[in-house]
Subunit: 194 residues, 2 copies
DNA sequence: GAGGTTAGTGACACCCAGTGCCACCGGGCA
DNA sequence: TGCCCGGTGGCACTGGGTGTCACTAACCTC
């Protein structure tokens, strides 16, 4: 019932390559399957959606984020704990950075993939909101847990965008810069600029 | 080349109705067209996507937001100006609230529509980022303008969610509550809770 | 009032994503 | 050798979205 790991890996690699070269919408599932030396039917057994081929092991990613948040020390400020967890989860080895760049360029650049990302990010938001709710003694669907979850994810996404566009800064540095702004209520735009 | 306004209105109404009753994925474009007394082909001339039938005149909405932001006084804090613009754009007459609730329940509840929303919201983000960039003398793709745009939209979305789930608070009140938290750097979770 | 233009529409054919179903193939196992 | 079973390929089908053409009704001109 399951899928052989190398078949999945070949499909993922082929998909990433073709999407980057030709554009997400232009590539058909048949072409990916051909490039990976397998069939269209097998592609859709590995990935529920064409878009899912771009996301590696994102489920494991979210699970790891959840564990990190659960292990947070109580005396650490909540935003700092979330920032630290985001930084740790996204601490890739140098050798993995090119693939990460390729993946994120697609996700942040292709409209269809941006849309799909929303569904995947909903899991992240849920995990973060539960963490905040636990720390605050509120329910996860109250205003504050929800708001912290969505705005910290907004910060993380923005950090990824500038990291991707810039090329000189570290991903960790970009994440810290974004979270600092958020945690301080955007001090840089506090003084009326006139 | 254009589409008759009442055809579009009938289709939109039928779509909203059917989506709410049966669920977005369960309704086919044919069924919507039949319910509106027209053809499938005409449906796709009115709306590029099945999902687009849920969004009313969202383009006009964004344009109005842009005008409001452009007319902002220079001595008003940036976040306050954005909050005021969001509140004003979402200041519906009481008679329009039921339709708004219906629309937002679909957009926030159906995964496929959540995904599609990301594409529409990208326009909002661009407009807000340009406003912030103008006020700060930065480019719209710098960290701070992007971050303010995405996190204020996160705040607005969260406000919509609690407004929808709650039923007692005003939309304006929910927006102000969310923006206040954001502008102050989440003071409610500042003290280490231990 | 006849003839031409034009916008809106409907009908049909097509491409492609995604799914259900079944047949096949290869390897472990009695 | 015969059986079982996980991975796979082929096939047909649904449904979203598009390009094309033919039709119709209004409007305009002579």
């Amino acid at each position: 019932m399951d899928v052989r790991a190398d078949t999945r890996a070949r499909l993922q690699q082929a998909a990433l390559e073709l999407f980057t070269r030709t554009g997400f919408e232009q590539v058909t599932a048949d072409e990916i399957a051909d490039a990976a030396g397998t069939s269209r039917r097998t592609f859709f057994r590995c990935f529920a959606t064409k878009a899912d081929a771009v996301w590696g092991e994102f489920g494991a990613h979210v699970a790891r984020l959840e564990r990190l948040l659960a292990a947070t020390r109580e005396d650490q400020p909540v935003l700092a704990s979330i920032c630290a967890a985001y930084v740790e989860v996204n601490d890739y080895a140098d050798g993995d950075l090119p693939i990460l760049r390729q993946r994120m360029a697609l996700i942040l650049g292709e409209p269809a993939l941006q849309a799909h990302a929303q569904v995947r990010y909903a899991d992240v938001d849920r995990v973060v909101a539960e963490h905040v709710a636990r720390r605050l003694g509120q329910t996860p669907d109250a205003l504050l847990p929800r708001l912290v979850a969505t705005s910290t994810r907004a910060a993380a996404t923005t950090a990824f965008e500038v990291w991707l566009a810039d090329g000189t800064t570290t991903l960790a540095a970009a994440l810290h810069a974004a979270f600092d702004q958020l945690a301080l209520g955007f001090p840089d735009l506090r003084p009326p600029s006139a």
